[in-house]
Symmetry: C2
Subunit: 481 residues, 2 copies
Amino acid sequence: MSAPNFPGEFLSLQRDGASALHLQLADALRDLILSGRLRTGQRLPSIRSMAETQGISRNTVVAAFDQLSAEGYLESRPGAGIWVARLVPTGWPDRTMAVPAAGSFLSRRGALMAAQPRIRSIQGHPTFHPGTPETSTFPFKAWARLLKKHTSPHGSELLTYHNLNGLQALRESICAYVSASRGVRVTADRIVVTTGGQAALDLLARLLIDNGDKVLIEEPGYHGARSVFAAAGADVHPLPVTEAGWDLDAVTQKPVRVVYVTPSSQFPLGIAMTLQERLALIDHARAHGTWIIEDDYDSEYSFHARRLPALQGLIEDAPVIYLGTFSKTLFPALRIGYVILPENLSEQVKRAISFTGHYAPLFIQAALSDFMGEGHFLRHLNRMRRLYTQRRRYFLSLCQEHFGKVLKPLDYQSGIQITCVAADDFDDCAMAERARVHNLNPAPLSSYYHAGAARRGLVMGYAAVDEADMGSAFAALKAIL
Amino acid sequence: MSAPNFPGEFLSLQRDGASALHLQLADALRDLILSGRLRTGQRLPSIRSMAETQGISRNTVVAAFDQLSAEGYLESRPGAGIWVARLVPTGWPDRTMAVPAAGSFLSRRGALMAAQPRIRSIQGHPTFHPGTPETSTFPFKAWARLLKKHTSPHGSELLTYHNLNGLQALRESICAYVSASRGVRVTADRIVVTTGGQAALDLLARLLIDNGDKVLIEEPGYHGARSVFAAAGADVHPLPVTEAGWDLDAVTQKPVRVVYVTPSSQFPLGIAMTLQERLALIDHARAHGTWIIEDDYDSEYSFHARRLPALQGLIEDAPVIYLGTFSKTLFPALRIGYVILPENLSEQVKRAISFTGHYAPLFIQAALSDFMGEGHFLRHLNRMRRLYTQRRRYFLSLCQEHFGKVLKPLDYQSGIQITCVAADDFDDCAMAERARVHNLNPAPLSSYYHAGAARRGLVMGYAAVDEADMGSAFAALKAIL
């Protein structure tokens, strides 16, 4: 029994064993049906005839027909043969038509998100990349032991849908740490654990910003914050910062919804906000219903004899939302941060995070809580402070030796990067471009400005560079200069 | 030398050793300044006099004064004494005023997000909670070994800012798996790894939806999808589903931006979409510029002899975005999912995810990639399929024995939960409420309906319940009935 016009003689089955023959046959027949070359109601050859034509066993044909019948492509009745099922609609001339360009398929909000600069993944280990801590000194043994401890059937509360706003034990560890070390006013129930500081910023922008709301971002400032607020539709304005401080006049002009600041170690200049500035900022914010977002991203690396506490702790009930992260103190790919909320905002954030799904794996949270509880965290921090103190000193001496008066380091004794300022005609982008060839990745200072005149210079992460590499890196930079 | 009107005699320092005396003194003085009881320019007592009045050592006083000077509260000049620094503004009568209610501080979008039902964390291990896989059988040893392997100085590429849209090795593992197992058309560069399926949905809603855009969500359907789209401002409409299938007429009425479907194992009914329905859905979507989001959340647990491939793989260039997750196959708290994008959407999603910060820890991604590469994943999956086949069979026999005709299980041989349907006058919410007292957590079927008439019944997760527990749980439910 043969079926007229069956195009099956063109089927090409590969006998190299890479894929089972019955699956190849099913795929080929499915393609014929979907492309319209086998039509609704069309009869297929019998199993025997198909097996003979293709030179395969009958079992192979039966298996392929069974699969396609299960998927709905074929129908059969004993004695009546096998035919292509009635698929609606019967003809589909457009079926191979390409989808329209995605641009038109994005929402306006989506287009705004897609218009933000893509933050590129780091490739390899470029020297001087800002914001990069030393990771080789991390206490891997203790960490692996704790991960293992919390990856067991006994910890099965850590495997399902518990603690969406952060493991209680970790929130308590963070609470104890930020109270003691950063002077933050907090209870564990006002902490929400996030998948990093950036994720926390993203969530806050969504909760606090409508299209057109005015937001102030430090200038120069952290471009990740700028992207998040711009993507949320904010009307982003600069909050100018120089070595002389924050220009708070910007806060007093027309209502501002959110001010984003890094008061303990300004990124990228490294200066700290004075008490006067802090009080004035809080006063302005209170008077105008403005939220202050305090990003305390690397305040742990303040090398002053007396560290300034966080802005958040200054005054009870100030409209300050505090962001912390373990990216700089432990390692960036840990993806754990936290947000400390005023009491009247905490329920809303917990609710939002419960359905956005942006919570960190619980076994990591449990391991991190133990890591803090067992003292590894503070020990590591102190080790890193000593190490960075040395590297910072060496870095500054190399600046003096190689950069002379061309690039002047701003040393405010804080942070894991140092900004070197140049004259206004210095082409920092070209310099950074040339450095990249040598696997050096200082960031041009001008890239942290968006609104107007940009200062020139290089923002250089020194923390992950050991002294031997630092010497040769500086020599290479000098050659470029 | 004593200072007139210094209110310091009221300072109360605790000598229980819980907190260093100089910090207590600094805290107390700071409070006096911030509350306005010590005013700008006011002189403080001398170090000696302060030490005597408080009964503490001079060094303690010096340390406290140093700290407050560093913070900017005090100023001093040798010989001229110490006074409160000039803080701007000079008076702050409102400083203890509470912040306005947060409601008024949220954006409209934020209010919309906060208006969604909060997804509650599970407490303990309630029996029959839908969507919960068995976790005690997870290969913890292999997993711990792989985590340890990727938590070492040698893996330091896994510690910083690499691979923001997913570790290459994991994307390749996922690519191989979904191609072979789910018939998905994909290359590794069109996969973006997310912090779970829910996080992927959240990102897609933001990219694809503007306020008022029409979105269809299956009814009954997954409330997490509903929350995400409603929070994005969508005009959410039901896509009715019954045992007879999907009512696709809803797709053809006025332009729909996004259709959210679970075609391989509908949540919570468990039915699979027929080929005819799949083709019709794709045709409608193409004709009207609609995105189809295919959530393949637990298709791995199809117990048919011949599993249906994913909708996504059906036709080249169909406007389908595919979501996968490891929450059901491994464990929910792993927080790893993935989205497979049409080529013309993949750059936009990568760009958006780069600044939202929602990427999973790299060492977990590396461990998971090895877990798949070494065969643990498929072995675990097969073990679970056998286990769930038994548990499913036992569950169905207990249904018959205890539920009789009151609750009729819909057995479509898929998924890790089974929905039992009751008559329209059955109060499934009251039943679920009473069951909770016994630590049983079946979900009322009516809770998965939002638009109109809801069917009644119980959605019961059977996968994480061993046979002994299942027997007693059914006995308890019968008693409640």
